[in-house]
C-alpha cells in the first residue's frame, strides 16, 4: 500500500484543522469565529477518514459540522449585537494563563510523542466490519452506557424546553403559607416544539 497519499492527506488536513482552530480563537468577530469552526470540524472529519474510522467520518460531519455548529450559530443570532461585536481579550492575566496552558499543552504533546508506542501491525477491518463491531459493542457490552446516553439527550431536551419556554405573566409572589390557601389555577401552555 502506498503511504504517500495518506501522508499528504494527513499533513494538509492537519494544517486545515490547526489553522482554522487558531482563527476561531483569533477572530475579532463572534460570527467569524463561528464560521471558522466549520473548516476545523471538516478537517477533523478528514483526519478520522485517514484513520480509517469511516463511521466517525460521517458522524463528525453530521453531528459537529451539521448539528452542533448550527446550534451555536443559532445562539449567536439570538444574542444582540452579534454581527458588530468584536470580542475583547479578557485581560493580560488571560494572556499569562494562555501562555501557561500553551506550555502545558505542548509539554503534554511532547510527552505523548516521546512515549514509545509499540508499532501496530494489525490492519483495521473494512467499513462494514467496523460498523458491525461498533454496533455489537453498543447493544452488547456497552448497552447500559448507550441507554444512559439516550437519557442524557432526553434530559437535555427537557431542560432546554423548560429553560427556553416563554412565560407570559410573571406568577404572583406565592403566599407564605402556600399549602393552606386556595391555590390559583396556574395556566400553562403545551410546549410548542423545541426552541
Amino acid at each position: 500500500m502506498n503511504t504517500l497519499p495518506v501522508q499528504i492527506a494527513f499533513y494538509s488536513l492537519a494544517a486545515l484543522t490547526l489553522i482554522s482552530a487558531a482563527y476561531v480563537v483569533r477572530a475579532r468577530s463572534i460570527i467569524h469565529a463561528g464560521f471558522w469552526l466549520l473548516p476545523c470540524f471538516v478537517g477533523v472529519a478528514g483526519l478520522f477518514a485517514t484513520l480509517q474510522a469511516h463511521f466517525f467520518f460521517v458522524a463528525q460531519l453530521l453531528i459537529y459540522a451539521g448539528a452542533i455548529l448550527v446550534l451555536i450559530l443559532f445562539a449567536l443570532m439570538l444574542t444582540r449585537d452579534a454581527m458588530s461585536l468584536h470580542v475583547p481579550l479578557k485581560s493580560h492575566l488571560g494572556i499569562w494563563a494562555g501562555l501557561i496552558s500553551a506550555g502545558l499543552g505542548i509539554s503534554a504533546s511532547l510527552v505523548l510523542a516521546r512515549q514509545s508506542w509499540s508499532v501496530t501491525t494489525a490492519h483495521p477491518a473494512g467499513p462494514a466490519r467496523q460498523a458491525e463491531a461498533l454496533g455489537e459493542a453498543l447493544i452488547g457490552l456497552y448497552a447500559v452506557p448507550f441507554e444512559v446516553a439516550s437519557l442524557l439527550l432526553l434530559s437535555a431536551l427537557i431542560g432546554a424546553v423548560v429553560l427556553a419556554k416563554v412565560e407570559r405573566a410573571p406568577a404572583p409572589e406565592p403566599p407564605p403559607l402556600a399549602d393552606t390557601l386556595p391555590e390559583p389555577e396556574e395556566t400553562r401552555k403545551e410546549p410548542v416544539g423545541v426552541e
Binding site: S116, P124, A137, L141, Y142, L163, E167, A178, R188
Partner: protein
C-alpha cells in the same frame, strides 16, 4: 437461568428511577394532580422504594464489570436516594414558584440516576457518562428559577465551567487510555504495575487531568470558583442537592477511580489529593470568615468540608483503604442531612425576610424556637461540636487520615476546624443572643418543615447513635476492598465476577491466539454478560 436474573436484578432500581422520572413528568400534565401538589411526596416515596429495592438486590458485575453492584455502590446509593427524598419533600412548597414541577422532579431523578451510575461504575466510561448525566440535569435545575436573572446566570456559569472541566477530564481519560490500554478499572490496575520510565510522566499528566475533573465536581479548592455563585443563584432546594448528593457522587467516582483503577497505592496520586485537601480546608475556611450571605457561607463551608473528606481520601492507601472509604461514606451520609438542613433554613429565611444575609437570622429563637433549634443543630454539626453527627464524622475522617500517614493534613484540618468554629458560632450568636429586629413568626410551609425536621433528627440521631451508620460505611469499604482481589484472581477468564459466574475456562487470553475469531464467526453466540469469556471482549470488538 438464575445466574442471569441475579446478574441483572441490581439494575432494576436504576430502571425504576427512569420510570419514575418519566411517570412524574407525565403525571404533571394531569391538572388535578398538579393542583394537589403531591408529586414531590410521590417522588420522595418512590425514591425510598428504590432504596429498599437496591438494598435487597444481590451483588453482581454484569457486562464484564462495566458496572459493579457491590456494597460500595449500595452504600452510596443510600446517600443519593435519601438526599433525593428529602429534597423532593422540601421542593413541594417551591412548586408554585418554579413552575414545571413534573420536569423538575424528573430532572432530579435523572440526576440521581447519573450519580448512582458513578458509584456503580467499573470503568471510566460508565463513570464519565454518569457524571455527565448528573451534571447536565443540574444545569437545567440551576436555571429553573428563570424569572430571576441570577439563576440563569448561575446556570450559564456552571454550564461553561463544567463543560471545560469535562473536556479536560476527557483528555485525561484519553491519555490514561493511551498509557494503560484500557479504561476498565481492573485492567488498568493490572497494567499499572508494568508502567515505568517515561511512560510514568504521561500517566501523571492524565491522572492530574482526571483528578482535576473530579475536584470540580466536589468543589475542592483550585476548582471551587463556581460553587459560591452557583449555590447563591440556584433555587435553594437545588443547591441543597448540588452541595450534598452531587458532591457525594464526585467522591464516589473519585474513590472508585483511585482505589480500583490505580490499584490502591497512593504513590501516583497521593500528592495531588494532599494538595487539594490542604488548599480546600485553608481557603474554604478563611474565605468563609468574611461572608455575609448565608448561602455563600454554606458554600465556602462546603468547600472546607470537601477538604476534610479529602484528608481521609489522602490516607486511603494500602491497609488503610477500608477505614478511609468507611469514613468518607459515613461523613457524606451525615453531611447530606446536615447540609440539606442548612440550605433549607436559608430558603426559609429568604422567603420570610427577602434577604439571605446572616443578619436576617437575628433573634431567630424569639421568633421561631423550632427553627432556631434546627439552625443550632445544623451549625454545631457542621462545626463538629460533640454530641452531634458532625463531630463523630470528623473524628472518623481524621482518624482515617492519621492512620493513612497524613499527620500533617490532620493537623491542618484540626487547626482550620477551630477557625471554622468561629464563624459557625457567630451565626449561632445571631440566632440565640442578638435581639430580633422584628417579632413576627417566620412562616414555614409544611413540606419544608417536614424536610427540616427529618434533617435535624437525622443529624441528632447519627450523632448520638452512630453505630448502624458506621456499618453502612463498612459495607462500602468491603465492596471496594473485595473487588480488586477477586478480579485479579479471576481476570484471565472471567472478570465479570458474580460469584456464580459460569465457568468459562475454554477462553484463552487474546494475545495467545493468533487466529482470533472475528465478528462473522462469533456473531451467532448470544452475549449475555457474565456467561461470556473475557477474551470475547478482545476478539469480538476488534476493529
Amino acid at each position: 437461568m438464575t445466574n442471569y436474573i441475579d446478574t441483572y436484578q441490581p439494575l432494576i432500581p436504576y430502571m425504576l428511577l427512569v420510570v419514575l422520572a418519566l411517570t412524574v413528568a407525565l403525571l404533571d400534565t394531569v391538572p388535578a394532580i398538579r393542583r394537589a401538589s403531591i408529586l414531590g411526596w410521590l417522588t420522595a416515596a418512590a425514591a425510598l422504594v428504590v432504596l429498599a429495592l437496591d438494598a435487597t438486590a444481590p451483588y453482581s458485575a454484569p457486562w464484564q464489570g462495566i458496572l459493579r453492584f457491590d456494597g460500595y455502590s449500595r452504600a452510596f446509593n443510600a446517600v443519593f436516594l435519601v438526599t433525593l427524598a428529602v429534597v423532593c419533600i422540601a421542593s413541594v412548597s417551591e412548586e408554585k414558584r418554579l413552575g414545571f414541577c413534573g420536569e423538575y422532579y424528573a430532572l432530579l431523578c435523572l440526576s440521581t440516576l447519573g450519580l448512582m451510575l458513578m458509584g456503580a461504575s467499573g470503568g471510566l466510561l460508565a463513570l464519565y457518562i454518569g457524571l455527565e448525566l448528573s451534571t447536565l440535569c443540574l444545569f437545567a435545575l440551576i436555571g429553573f428559577a428563570k424569572r430571576e436573572r441570577r439563576s440563569a446566570e448561575a446556570a450559564l456559569k456552571m454550564l461553561i465551567l463544567s463543560a471545560v472541566t469535562s473536556a479536560v477530564l476527557l483528555y485525561g481519560i484519553s491519555i490514561l487510555y493511551g498509557v494503560l490500554g484500557s479504561t476498565q478499572f481492573d485492567q488498568m490496575a493490572a497494567k499499572l504495575t508494568t508502567i515505568s520510565g517515561e511512560t510514568r510522566i504521561a500517566l501523571w499528566l492524565g491522572l492530574a487531568f482526571v483528578i482535576g475533573g473530579f475536584a470540580f465536581k466536589i468543589a475542592a479548592t483550585p476548582f471551587h470558583l463556581w460553587a459560591p455563585d452557583v449555590y447563591e443563584g440556584a433555587p435553594a432546594t437545588v443547591t441543597a442537592f448540588l452541595s450534598t448528593a452531587s458532591k457525594a457522587g464526585g467522591f464516589a467516582g473519585l474513590l472508585r477511580f483511585l482505589l480500583l483503577g490505580l490499584g490502591g497505592s497512593s504513590e501516583t496520586w497521593g500528592v495531588l489529593i494532599i494538595a487539594l485537601a490542604a488548599l480546600s480546608m485553608v481557603v474554604g475556611n478563611l474565605v468563609a470568615l468574611v461572608q455575609t450571605s448565608l448561602k455563600r457561607l454554606l458554600a465556602y463551608s462546603g468547600i472546607a468540608q470537601a477538604g476534610y473528606v479529602l484528608v481521609a481520601v489522602a490516607g486511603a492507601s494500602g491497609e488503610g483503604r477500608g477505614m478511609s472509604v468507611g469514613a468518607t461514606l459515613f461523613y457524606l451520609f451525615l453531611y447530606a442531612f446536615t447540609n440539606v438542613g442548612g440550605f433549607l433554613l436559608a430558603q426559609v429565611i429568604i422567603h420570610a425576610t427577602g434577604s439571605d444575609s446572616i443578619s436576617a437570622l437575628r433573634g431567630l429563637h424569639r421568633r421561631s424556637p423550632m427553627l432556631a433549634f434546627a439552625a443550632l443543630v445544623t451549625l454545631f454539626s457542621l462545626g463538629g461540636i460533640p454530641p452531634l453527627a458532625g463531630f463523630v464524622g470528623k473524628l472518623y475522617l481524621f482518624a482515617a487520615g492519621w492512620q493513612g500517614g497524613q499527620q500533617i493534613l490532620v493537623l491542618i484540618g484540626a487547626l482550620t476546624s477551630v477557625i471554622a468554629l468561629y464563624y459557625y458560632l457567630m451565626v449561632a450568636r445571631q440566632v440565640y443572643i442578638n435581639d430580633p429586629s422584628d417579632d413576627r413568626r417566620m412562616p414555614v410551609s409544611r413540606p419544608i418543615g417536614v424536610a427540616l425536621a427529618v434533617c435535624t433528627l437525622g443529624t441528632l440521631v447519627i450523632g448520638v447513635y452512630p453505630r448502624p451508620w458506621i456499618t453502612l460505611g463498612d459495607m462500602a469499604a468491603q465492596g471496594i476492598l473485595q473487588t480488586p482481589a477477586s478480579s485479579v484472581r479471576r481476570r484471565p477468564d472471567a472478570p465479570s465476577t458474580a460469584s456464580h459466574a459460569a465457568p468459562a475456562s475454554t477462553a484463552q487470553p487474546a494475545g495467545a491466539q493468533p487466529a482470533l475469531p472475528r465478528i462473522g464467526e462469533v456473531c451467532g453466540t448470544p452475549q449475555h454478560g457474565n456467561a461470556e469469556p473475557a477474551s470475547a471482549d478482545r476478539s469480538l470488538f476488534r476493529l
